[in-house]
Symmetry: C2
Subunit: 429 residues, 2 copies
Amino acid sequence: MSDPTTPAPSTSGISRRGLFGLAGAGVVGLGVGAAVDRFVLPPTASAQENAAVYPFFGEHQSGIVTPAQDRLHFASYDVADISRDELVELLQDWSAAAALMTQGKEAGQFGAVSGNYDAPPDDTGEALGLPASGLTITIGFGPTLFQTADGTDRFGIASRRPAALVDLPHFPADMLQDALSGGDLCIQACSDDPQVAVHAIRNLSRIAFGRANIRWSQLGFGRTSSTTKAQQTPRNLFGFKDGTANIKAEDTGVLSDQVWASGSDGADWMTGGSYLVSRKIRMTIETWDRTSLREQEAVIGRTKGEGAPYSGGTEFSEPDFAATGQGGAPLIAKDAHVRLSHPDQNSGAQLLRRGYNFVDGNDELGRLNAGLFFIAYQRDPREQFIPIQMNLAKNDAMNEYIRHVGSAIFAVPPGAHQGGYVGETLFGA
Amino acid sequence: MSDPTTPAPSTSGISRRGLFGLAGAGVVGLGVGAAVDRFVLPPTASAQENAAVYPFFGEHQSGIVTPAQDRLHFASYDVADISRDELVELLQDWSAAAALMTQGKEAGQFGAVSGNYDAPPDDTGEALGLPASGLTITIGFGPTLFQTADGTDRFGIASRRPAALVDLPHFPADMLQDALSGGDLCIQACSDDPQVAVHAIRNLSRIAFGRANIRWSQLGFGRTSSTTKAQQTPRNLFGFKDGTANIKAEDTGVLSDQVWASGSDGADWMTGGSYLVSRKIRMTIETWDRTSLREQEAVIGRTKGEGAPYSGGTEFSEPDFAATGQGGAPLIAKDAHVRLSHPDQNSGAQLLRRGYNFVDGNDELGRLNAGLFFIAYQRDPREQFIPIQMNLAKNDAMNEYIRHVGSAIFAVPPGAHQGGYVGETLFGA
């Protein structure tokens, strides 16, 4: 793969040490000989497993074509009534902390800050001693950052809103909840250790205090797509492999065509960026689990075990939508998910998916509140997510078993250069 | 460690294969030559990491002194209006499925059951191809299983309710929500892979359909205690090490005294079992994060980095509660958590803790809904959890930063013998 922003993970095992050394000072200040609280932490048992370290700086933000990590903490933020300069400062602060945390360091000083025991530590501490665990932090800008619903140009950037950053239309059967939708800013934190992902969102939220506030957030516990050819296809909570036909990091030509925004799209500052659409999709798994295997496979258009198209072959065989069986009926039904979502049925449009399974406890009827937190990256939602989802929302046999309850869209700017910040191409020019 | 029910994990890499072989039948039934969907799944990338396999059958249930796994899915159930025989059947069905899943197998047939493509698969499928991942399934009985609040003896076991299975008293400052508390039955599923833990709870809930229904459930993403001396002490969301002084599996004498129920306690059928208390403890982490390091460490009574007692030494040094500093003030404050929870302050009572961090999204004010899902095993809550918690609830400096919002107690019977079921000592006699 030639993409310079997603090298093979280093396994140097950088760990969260060394920023600390003064924390014993308070005890010493009490006049007793308590041990000075120095950090020489041995690597944890998982240090070897979670040794991947991805760069924060680069042409593209990490967390898009990076090999999909196992865990997600995603947060959407409302920006407070602050000035443009204050917003820029927030993005600078976030970038600086993200550059540290993605390298396995704390968000700031963990112990007594500048020897001051009467201040809170800069870092909240729960990831201390844990390796970087493949952490990526990806920052995006929602439509309302550019212009609020009443048309206010809060930060003087309304004229630079990319045409591709549309307000998503209403799709048939949408049951969106406002409290699970939208947002001025987003942060996607992916890691192989949930404690590391949670630590990142928590500390970035803390840094934003008074400037931006979490609007909604989502934990995901199992990735549902591979983003590299080396990764096996994982399963979603329908029990089916998901993401077999996903765009992979190795498909550099497809990435250029379908994922990375280009200056020729009309917003220069987004060159090397991408557009993120998230959808919180609740699955009615209890109903699904009472459905026959025949129905389940017909809905998907693939076998449940191997994940092969119903037209035959193995997982990575191309589906043959023309193949027919007894009585001339198509082997892959007209309303099968694999047919309706296939590029051939969508003018060649594809998505780079990075979704995660979720279980948010249970509802009052004792059903697991479970499903898919869908994330897709693309060059232009007007040509990709929107027509594909319109097609699915109208026709997909799967609709009987899902409910879209949350939705958001964000422009994900290109990566920052060393010492710069995410958003500099928009605000710095 | 001499406990026969918790051997060192086998690394034979048992995986979820082989129960399938007929799933292609439906396609073949359509009259076409689609590939038969056989399973020869290669091991996943994580197979080596998650190869631990623990026995389901044994003197004690697994999941108590088993080395604490990284992830939790816990569910509490209300039992429907069923007969004693039907309840026994449910426990038998749960035990049979648990015995399979803990060994890395599916809960039942994954593909077409007995060749019948028009039935749902016995297993929901999302863990297919994943290793056992250290899965343990631990089943408990709540007080209301023995006798409902209005005194009804639903299953003819009211007279056999152990005296130690008390209704927990109200503790000062409790803010318990009924929807997060209590339950007739519980299942604790722990695994190093959350998809495996979720798969277990989902399939056991499905098996219970019409007989028991989830009352509340909780996912946990980071263990907060070590249960063996080989495990490093993890950190809770206050950023402090948690569980330094936990009972460890190697402390067999302490286990006998403090964890395992004995026939001499008055309920023969609980011999080799234990009593589980769970508390959902929300932490007001935003407030905590704005508190000085001095205050944070004073509240805990330990340093944040090393986790050493404030009286000096290193993590595993015994706290010296008599040590004083300037002006004769105790180094470990009178209201410090480490002091109030120490066995010396509680007539020697200890708990085997197995808690997990949680983040359940955020509240409407944008604060993370985060905290500790506390789980403790013990021989008799009347002598252990209740007096300790009464002491803490009245005096602990930490109370300013936490809120107990859920609570439950369960009698966890001894392990089943091969071919038997959990609860047989109660129902089978």
